[in-house]
Amino acid sequence: MVDLTPLWFSIQVAAAATLGSLVIGTAVAYALARGRFRGRDALEAVFTLPLVLPPTVLGYYLLALFGRRSALGAFLERSLGITIVFTPLGAVLASLVVGIPLVVRTARVAFESVDRDLERAGRTLGFSELAVFCRITLPLAWRGIVAGTVLAFTRGLGEFGATLLVAGNIPGRTQTIATAIYNATQTGNSALANTLVAITTVLAFAVLLVVARLTR
């Protein structure tokens, strides 16, 4: 019997990271789509970087930022008792960073495709800005946001490089499906590798079908 612990762990990590990506990514996407402010291009570039940088580079940054020897990492550990490196939280953080750009990009396109006259009409009808967003913008953009979120979930599920650096590869504690496959291949456990690869592929394929439906 194949040990599926890494699969369940990956799903939990990806779910938690996706929730974060959804909130942060949607906010950034809205700012990029509707905001007119200085540094907009820089903001967009920062939130696109994780797409193009090697995940190990991202992992390195996260280590530098949250490691025990960094000011922030030391503060979190001493004052709040939160350890990030080599914990499940580290895995969530790694997936979060790679997932946000996917939400930002798809949600931004979705927000931009909402006719601004609809929002303007809402204002002339007495809607507050919050009501314009909740009753007009969001209902018209939700498909794109969900599509991006689903992509972020899949990406988080398969995250490898950054996860390995930040969370390590501790079986039963921080081993994800991707790092488990790496282990299985290295140790010649082809039965485990085949099973995990098959599950990952099917899962990713199913998700892409959902995305295709939503963005049609």
Binding site: R120, R123, T124, G126, L140
Partner: protein
């Protein structure tokens, strides 16, 4: 009543600078080409964009005053706004679209649906409606809370001609029913002249003319106004004599009597005459009475049958082409053909001097 005086810089060389007063329950038609600043003007009135300077008062309530730092947001100005493509909410049914405009008076919903003949369509979505039905829905939604002021951005331009006529009528009856003070933006001179109690012609963000429909049509303030109201007859001539508000012009070798903005003898002025005031007479037919109009001898060069009349162009030696328009029945009686020698007469009372022509 609307009192507005607004300035807004839109680009490096585009300043919108408009002031007007519109009495209650009247309609102001803002006529201008695309890019003349029409929609921006509506947005400034509605509070969707903020002017750089000025003051806006709607029925005595100041909604914007740069000097006093007042800027009431759009949601609190309580005016109706009909967008160019109606901006109906595509994810909501007809009923829910109307509900969005109610401002907390839910009991009025069914009555509104009935009033705008939308009951049978209440559960449909906007994309399932015809152009005319979409417009009724847009009107129902923006009038749901009985605003005193209605702003309309090219509301008829997206419609086919027969619909247009019907909806202009609908607009007129709603205007009376809801006691609306309305500002209607359009690039269609026919629409502006038909629906506007007053017409404001916008040229590059500035008021080119603000007057009654008749004034804008028959007494244009500038060649730009003449051209935008569908008048191609633009001439320049020197003033020979002035008598009261009547001037005699030396026009391309002919003496022409005109009225308008008085300029002293020797000045070069721009003048015009609407095609409807250009009469055409068959040669060889003596005039019934010695009509004191401006007569010219020329050749008919082209004619065109149009919806609202028959237009023709006459070439008079040394003159730019002169365009006239007569009713279809008149044209039929005339039996004129291109190439034929004709006499045209520029009706004196409609021959209008627009003002001094600056030396180029």
């Amino acid at each position: 009543m609307i009192t507005a005086q607004v300035q807004k810089r839109i680009g490096p060389d585009f300043l919108l600078d408009v002031a007007f007063t519109l009495p209650a329950q009247q309609t102001l038609a803002v006529l201008g080409h695309n890019g003349s600043g029409k929609t921006t003007l509506l947005d400034l009135l509605a509070g969707l964009r903020r002017p750089d300077a000025g003051r806006v008062a709607l029925n005595g309530r100041v909604v914007y005053d740069a000097a006093r730092g007042i800027n009431v947001p759009a949601r609190a100005r309580h005016l109706g706004y009909i967008f160019q493509h109606y901006a109906l909410f595509p994810h909501l049914t007809v009923r829910d679209n109307v509900r969005c405009g109610l401002r907390g008076q839910p009991q009025r919903l069914e009555e509104l649906l009935r009033q705008f003949r939308l009951e049978a369509l209440a559960d449909r979505y906007p994309r399932q409606l015809s152009g005319g039905e979409q417009q009724r829905l847009a009107l129902a939604r923006s009038l749901a809370s009985h605003p005193a002021v209605l702003l309309l951005d090219e509301p008829f331009s997206a419609l086919d001609p027969p619909w247009r006529r019907e909806l202009r009528q609908e607009f007129r009856s709603l205007r009376a029913q809801f006691n609306l003070t309305a500002v209607l933006v359009t690039h269609d001179p026919g629409e502006a002249l038909e629906l506007g109690d007053a017409v404001l012609v916008l040229e590059q963000g500035k008021v080119a003319q603000h007057g009654s429909a008749d004034q804008v049509m028959w007494q244009p303030a500038s060649p730009y106004v003449a051209a935008i109201t569908g008048n191609p007859n633009l001439f320049t001539s020197q003033v020979l004599e002035v008598e009261g508000d009547t001037m005699v012009l030396q026009a391309y070798g002919t003496r022409i009597t005109a009225s308008g903005v008085v300029a002293s003898p020797g000045r070069t002025v721009a003048w015009t005459v609407r095609p409807e005031a250009v009469m055409i007479l068959r040669p060889g037919r003596p005039l019934a009475a010695p009509v004191q109009e401006n007569h010219l001898q020329g050749v008919l060069t082209s004619t065109a049958k149009e919806i609202d009349g028959h237009s023709f162009t006459v070439a008079v030696p040394r003159w730019p082409p002169i365009v006239g328009r007569v009713p279809h029945t008149t044209w039929e009686r005339l039996m004129a053909d291109t190439g034929q020698a004709v006499t045209v007469s520029l009706k004196r009372s409609a021959t209008w001097v627009m003002g001094r022509q600056e030396a180029p």
